[in-house]
Amino acid sequence: MIAVVDYGAGNIGSVKNALDNLSQESVVTSDADIIKRANKIILPGVGAFGDAARKLSALGLDRVIVDSCRGETPLLGICLGLQLMFECSEESADTTGLGVFKGQVKRIPDERHSLKIPHIGWNSLSLAQYDGIFKDVNDGAYVYFVHSFYAEPEDASIISAYTDYGAKIPIAFSYKHIHLTQFHPEKSGETGLRILENFVNI
């Protein structure tokens, strides 16, 4: 059973709809016990870092996720879910993230205002890892982004893909059983569904 973590941060229905489409059983839940017992965990999220971190903490789910990452349960973090896995974000100076990975979430540099922020739309993947969730995904395939911040890990070896927006920015990470995407696989058409399916099959 795949647990899609519901912590009040955004449109989690899309992830469930995508999993239904892949004929994968999933439950949208904020129940710590159900999440602990799940075969796989998906941490979605849209909105603001500080607000989301507080909601996770209020539900006690911050502990659950950190503990799960220490174990072996595969976890997929999407968009804000990716950002929360790091230590902190420029978006919310007064809140800490889960700190599963060392590094900071930073604002996308907007080149003296010549770049539109948020980064919205279909941009291409520049793959650094070709297996895991990117198995059978073409280098250069397009996926859907909507974000103003990105994570800069201390350990660059966890970066599994970049994209080009002004500068080359890391937008996916993989380390052992933890996979993170800044883009929305549940909104990225066929390519996105393939990425989700790869995660489900891990």
Binding site: D110, K116, P118, I120, N123, H147, K187, G189
Partner: protein
């Protein structure tokens, strides 16, 4: 690099698409889910559903439609039309829409933009602006209520304000060009795009492929919206995208 988005707009009345698409051997496209699926197959990057249902008591039908579309379409879609309160927004997002579009309600109560962005995130708040040229003042003014009431607000001032309040994108419709099929309002789009730090979706006036090129290139739009040229298959999205790519506009061309 980030591509420019081609976004078909579907008018929906009581849960049915109002303008059909006429293809040989395909099912009648009065059903929003089928229309959406077809548009995805044809290469649309996103979709906008404009709810033109007259009576607000039939909103549940729209919500059912949103739920159905969300179950089958895996590209982003926006729902707009008559959204007035945070509760309206919550219901539509909860039903599965990725973004909502605010128009008259935002002009009449700009704080709604701020509240929505705060509660749901800027990424799902599109502010739609209908603008008409005022030749004497040499500017464009914002209209509400389906283009019927002139609020005498300068479009640049309003665009800046909505951005400050937390809008994620602006859907900019030229009332002068809408329906004309003579091209988008390039000057209007360029001025707003240059003044705004958030993405601009251009709307109003598409008739030929070069209109799209013009508004993306000279008009500096980040995305384009069109309705009848796509509904009646006057322009094929795939051919449009090939044409744009030939003219050095980055677009996603799925096989």
């Amino acid at each position: 690099m980030l591509t420019k988005r081609i976004i078909p707009c579907l008018d929906v009345d009581n849960g049915r698409v109002v303008k059909g698409i006429n293809f040989i051997n395909l099912v009648d496209a009065g059903d929003p889910v089928e229309s959406a699926a077809q548009y995805y197959q044809l290469g649309a990057d996103e979709l906008v559903f404009l709810d033109i249902t007259a009576s607000s008591s039939n909103r549940n039908i729209t919500l059912d439609m949103v739920k159905s579309v969300a179950k089958q379409i895996f590209i982003p879609f926006t729902v707009g039309g008559g959204i007035r309160t945070l509760d309206d927004i919550y219901k539509i997002l909860d039903a599965g829409a990725d973004k909502i579009s605010l128009n008259s309600a935002a002009v009449n109560d700009p704080d709604l933009i701020y509240q929505a962005a705060n509660k749901f995130g800027s990424q799902c708040v599109v502010v739609a602006i209908d603008a008409k040229r005022n030749n004497e003042a040499d500017n464009w003014e914002v209209f509400v209520n389906g283009g019927r009431i002139n609020k005498h607000i300068d479009v640049i001032d309003w665009a800046n304000e909505v951005e400050n309040l937390g809008a994620g994108e602006i859907l900019l419709t030229s009332m002068d060009c809408d329906g004309s099929k003579n091209g988008y309002d390039i000057e209007l789009t360029k001025k707003v795009s240059e003044n705004a730090g958030i993405p601009i979706i251009a709307s109003g006036g598409a008739g030929r492929k070069n209109h799209f090129l013009d508004v993306l290139e000279r008009g500096k739009a980040d995305a384009v919206l069109a309705a009848s040229v796509f509904h009646f298959n006057e322009i094929s999205i795939q051919e449009l995208k090939k044409y744009l790519r030939e003219n050095n506009i980055p677009v996603v061309l799925r096989d």
